[in-house]
């Protein structure tokens, strides 16, 4: 294990490292257990199975008018088959992906959703059982490469005219924009075929696409991609970054790519045991701190390293760089990984606790020659941050995200907010108690930052239906300009993208 770049303090501290929380403890992880929980707490509906493999419907308008000029498609993705063949997964992120298209045209919104029938899912269908390993659930299937377990369930990307369903551990999956049918895995180059292409690529204003891929077998390495606006690969580089675990997101600046490696890292011994899931093969080694890698955009090589206190995160807002090389970025960071290693398992077992510390919106400064700093900007939990994507890699003053009151027995997010990354929360709107907001995506209208709309899907646990709100992104507190609802619900999803028609 290459740890030569870690500080001496981290090396010494590593000796006292602790294993991450793993397994389900007293929870069984069965369908019956989840259903018993759901019968007591309707807020668990978001983790129930999708009722069907495919949905098509118009949205019924509940209020308001669709803004003129708002025409396009919001594609979303998320785990939706939490159970197959009577067998329930044990982590929110395990299930087969369902892609959704909300098409906004004229005064109508239509909805289509399809389970992505990946090679992994087709193998299980042929066998008549769920057996292939997942993110947080161990399995027994053959593993020739990461795509053997690719559920394509995390995000969507529309780039150079191609729609892709993204997962973190394997290739992007081509998806037909009209039918939402699953195509083949995207190979950016034969030598990169079958390798991870992460679910949070960054696309700059000129269409240049950057991404990472965290590889865990046959060796650990971080793959960096640079893709031209026309969809062809320009350059890729394989970096040895030392101990590594989940790498979910990153930022770009005008000159650099910045990747944060948390102290939740893969333990090689656990990872070689096929009875241990990918998530459970991680161990929490706080003495490693959070290692910050600054990578040159042209060479795709590491040019600077910083160290921050230990913390765990999934998502960033954005990054940007001053003329003197000082880098700024924001992150939704928690003190530890328990919200993913414990809470997101318990919720699959019918226990909606979310008792662990949630991510806080934090601002990071990386001076070119001195130590790094991180400061918490907002007091409550913050997740699913999105920016006006035209500001990618440039100084930004608006982040749209979800926050909440951390009430026991409820989903931790019930409010959509706008954050100024230099000031904190500046605007927001609270959802009714029976609605769970999902990621809100910014859609540009005018030229200024944040001049446009927010598309906010939500789950209404009282109606047992999925709805969609449209906000003026600069006046979120005024409430939705338009609200519509479907005659069915889709399990809580993860990320999406919008493309104008």
């Amino acid at each position: 294990m290459a740890i030569d770049h870690l500080s001496r303090r981290a090396m010494l501290g590593a000796l006292a490292s602790l294993p991450a929380l793993s397994g389900l403890g007293a929870l069984a992880g069965t369908r019956e257990e989840f259903n018993a929980g759901l019968s007591k707490n309707p807020h668990l509906l978001g983790l129930a199975n999708a009722k069907m493999e495919s949905f098509d419907s118009g949205m019924k308008k509940l209020r308001g008018h669709l803004p003129s000029g708002l025409e396009g498609v919001l594609w979303r993705n998320g785990p939706a088959e939490h159970e197959r063949f009577g067998d329930r997964y044990t982590h929110w992120f395990d299930g087969d992906g369902m892609v959704q298209a909300y098409t906004l045209s004229g005064d109508r919104v239509t909805h289509r959703a399809r389970i992505l029938d990946t090679p992994k899912r087709r193998r299980e269908t042929r066998e008549g059982r769920r057996y292939i390993p997942a993110f947080g659930t161990a399995g027994s299937g053959p593993m020739s490469g990461p795509d053997d377990m690719n559920v394509a369930n995390t995000s969507m990307l529309f780039h150079a005219g191609q729609l892709l369903a993204l997962w973190e551990g394997g290739s992007a999956l081509e998806v037909d924009p009209e039918t939402l049918g699953a195509g083949k895995f995207k190979a950016w180059h034969p030598e990169l075929s079958g390798l991870p292409f992460s679910a949070h690529p960054r696309v700059e204003k000129d269409g240049t696409l950057w991404n990472t891929g965290a590889i865990f077998f046959p060796q650990e390495a971080l793959l960096i991609y640079r893709i031209h606006q026309n969809g062809t690969i320009v350059k890729a580089n394989l970096l040895d970054v030392g101990p590594m675990g989940i790498v979910h997101d990153f930022v770009v600046t005008s000159r650099h790519i910045v990747v944060l490696l948390t102290p939740l890292v893969i333990d090689p011994d656990l990872w070689s045991d096929r009875d241990v899931s990918f998530l459970d093969a991680h161990v929490w080694r706080p003495a490693y701190g959070t290692r910050v890698l600054t990578i040159d955009k042209n060479q795709l090589e590491i040019v600077r390293r910083h160290e921050l206190p230990p913390g765990f995160h999934f998502h960033h807002g954005n990054g940007w760089e001053e003329a003197d090389g000082t880098i700024h970025l924001d992150v939704c960071q928690a003190p530890g990984p328990e919200f993913v290693t414990r809470d997101m398992r318990e919720v699959m077992c019918g226990q909606l606790n979310f008792s662990s510390a949630h991510p806080r919106y934090s601002s990071i400064v990386l001076p070119p020659r001195s130590g790094a700093e991180i400061n918490v900007l907002a007091p409550g939990p913050v997740e699913f941050p999105r920016i006006d994507s035209r500001r990618t890699g440039q100084r930004h003053r608006m982040v749209f995200a979800l926050t909440g009151d951390e009430v026991d027995g409820k989903w931790p997010f019930n409010r959509v907010i706008r954050i100024d990354p230099e000031l904190g929360e500046t605007d927001g709107w609270t959802y009714p108690g029976h609605q769970i907001p999902e990621e809100h995506v910014f859609v540009p209208a005018g030229p200024a930052e944040g001049e446009g709309w927010l598309l906010g899907p939500y789950l209404d646990v009282r109606r047992k239906a999925t709805g969609l709100n449209v906000f003026n992104a600069r006046h979120v507190s005024a409430g939705p300009l338009w609200e519509g609802i479907l005659p069915y619900f889709i399990p809580l999803g993860l990320h999406g993208t919008f493309a104008a028609l």
């Binding site: 053959p142 795509d147 046959p218």
Partner: protein, 153 residues
């Protein structure tokens, strides 16, 4: 893990037939390759014997190899006059016809492949034991089926 997937199946086709000594008790090994998804390129089939201190299925254990035009309805090749013993069969669909199993930058195969006994590996190829078939002294012909699976399909 990387050793196991590195340099696998460097199947030497030239001159291997002469390694097999014809003997009275020899048998033919018929390999039926199924699951090819197109007629593009070739099918390459290799018979391995156990070699100490060497990871299957690298080139060290290959005692015979053949290639044939790919056919989605199946391809059969026969290795004649194998002495009694244990063998493992590896095959791949050589879609570009270069007689090499194409791999990505991390040496993970990107062309379809399969092994005798339906042996499959876990983050690497299967072991020789998992793929081994016995060729006895009292049989004229042994038939082995190899199903090709395509990475990412």
């Amino acid at each position: 893990m990387s050793d196991a997937t590195h340099a696998i199946w460097a199947i030497a086709l030239a001159g291997t037939a002469s390694l097999i000594a014809a003997a009275a008790s020899c048998a033919d090994l018929e390999v039926s390759v199924k699951g090819l998804r197109s007629a593009e390129g070739k099918v390459v089939v290799a018979v391995h014997q156990r070699v100490a201190d060497t990871s299957f299925p690298d080139g060290e254990g290959v005692i015979a190899g053949q290639s044939s035009l790919a056919n989605p309805e199946g391809v059969t090749v026969v290795f004649a006059d194998l002495p009694p013993g244990e063998y493992a069969v590896a095959a791949f669909h050589d879609t570009d016809g270069d007689l090499e199993l194409d791999r990505n930058i991390l040496q993970i195969p990107i062309e379809g492949y399969g092994f005798s006994n339906g042996a499959v590996g876990f983050r690497g190829p299967p072991s020789f034991d998992d793929a081994a078939v016995a060729v006895g002294s009292d049989e004229d012909r042994i038939t082995v089926v190899v199903s090709i699976a395509y990475p990412g399909f």
